[in-house]
Symmetry: D2
Subunit: 132 residues, 4 copies
Amino acid sequence: MPNTISVKVRGYHLDVYGHVNNARYLEFLEEARWAMLEHMDLEALLVKGILFVVVNININYRRPAGLNSLLTVESTLKSVGTHSAVLSQVVKFKENGNIAADAEVTFVLLNSKTHQPMKLEGDLAQLLSAIG
Amino acid sequence: MPNTISVKVRGYHLDVYGHVNNARYLEFLEEARWAMLEHMDLEALLVKGILFVVVNININYRRPAGLNSLLTVESTLKSVGTHSAVLSQVVKFKENGNIAADAEVTFVLLNSKTHQPMKLEGDLAQLLSAIG
Amino acid sequence: MPNTISVKVRGYHLDVYGHVNNARYLEFLEEARWAMLEHMDLEALLVKGILFVVVNININYRRPAGLNSLLTVESTLKSVGTHSAVLSQVVKFKENGNIAADAEVTFVLLNSKTHQPMKLEGDLAQLLSAIG
Amino acid sequence: MPNTISVKVRGYHLDVYGHVNNARYLEFLEEARWAMLEHMDLEALLVKGILFVVVNININYRRPAGLNSLLTVESTLKSVGTHSAVLSQVVKFKENGNIAADAEVTFVLLNSKTHQPMKLEGDLAQLLSAIG
């Protein structure tokens, strides 16, 4: 089951084209990631000195979203590598399920002392699997 | 002589009305304050543990600014009180000097250890007077 | 009864001080105003060619809000003049009711054709009174 | 010769990690694109009813940028396809040329009436080649 948040598009989300601005989508994705972490023990881990750091975002802008659009952002874990993992985040129109934007977000978990990416194995891998 | 920066209005500054968004003006004002501090020894002071903290912004939105508008932001010190000071910041259209927005920004200088506002006297008062 | 929205403070809301940035508060206030209009017939009116335009924001930053703070934004109508009205918007910590920021927001309703402020009487005054 | 803009990192660009926020980089990239269009006849074309629309951004976050970092954003045309083209945008530290972030930005030129992507041939292809 994907982690899902809802966003209603407001006037300040739009830009000169009257559509949600490209950069703003990244805030929607980040909001969804914080909400996701909130529902996992991962948040506790982060507090203990593990930093969730995004290293790549590959986002497709598929359909423009305008004022009052009701959007959802679904986040699911796509894959876990040795040191990095990939989150799939999809922004849909609630009304019809059409996709406004979809992104693959690659992240690492940094040890906040050494600033080295941690191996995503054992406890960490298990925690990540809870993302769904 | 006021401290002045220039801003060209871009597509991502606008909102549903096609004008620079209210919140974005506060970023323009903050940009101008950072530029102002840069030209003063005050920046050095800040690094040494004095925090420049805004406690009130009173901003008038007078004329809408649209795509490609060339704006300036002028910052001048309006008054210095015992613990707080007031900056006047005016956003003008470069073309004709008309005012897009003007603000009074009240700030304090906090001691970063005690988190108490410092008395704006002696060295600090002198530094502030350099704002112009 | 005030119109109230909730906001959870996320990493992207913060700035160099580790607190919600001054400009971001104006987005919180705008979000609250859109939510407020949504619950009124006023939204319908706006669609019909009346523009809700903010002409002044006077905001006090009273207490810093950090990561994970749960905030509410309450909006109430403070006063209605001939051509402009004042909204009171208060950002509180849900936990203890302390005020993070409070603002008075002065707005006009513009006729989208003439771009003149409309007289806030009759139907319009009644609609505004529904803000609470 | 790449089209280049400069950005000085300010307090409001940062987030909870004390580094420039992921979404903010997209504003830096957009700023660079507007500056690029300004130096081309393409801007004139856009006014005449051609919309510059981004369909994909693939951005790598390579090194964190903190307060007072001086950055440049260089934009070069990487490739032109039948209906879409790819811009390379690199954010560097002015001091040492290290890369903070780099992105490939795929865009189309939409006919503002039909909302169809235009073929990037003839005049349009020539204009794009002026990006450098």
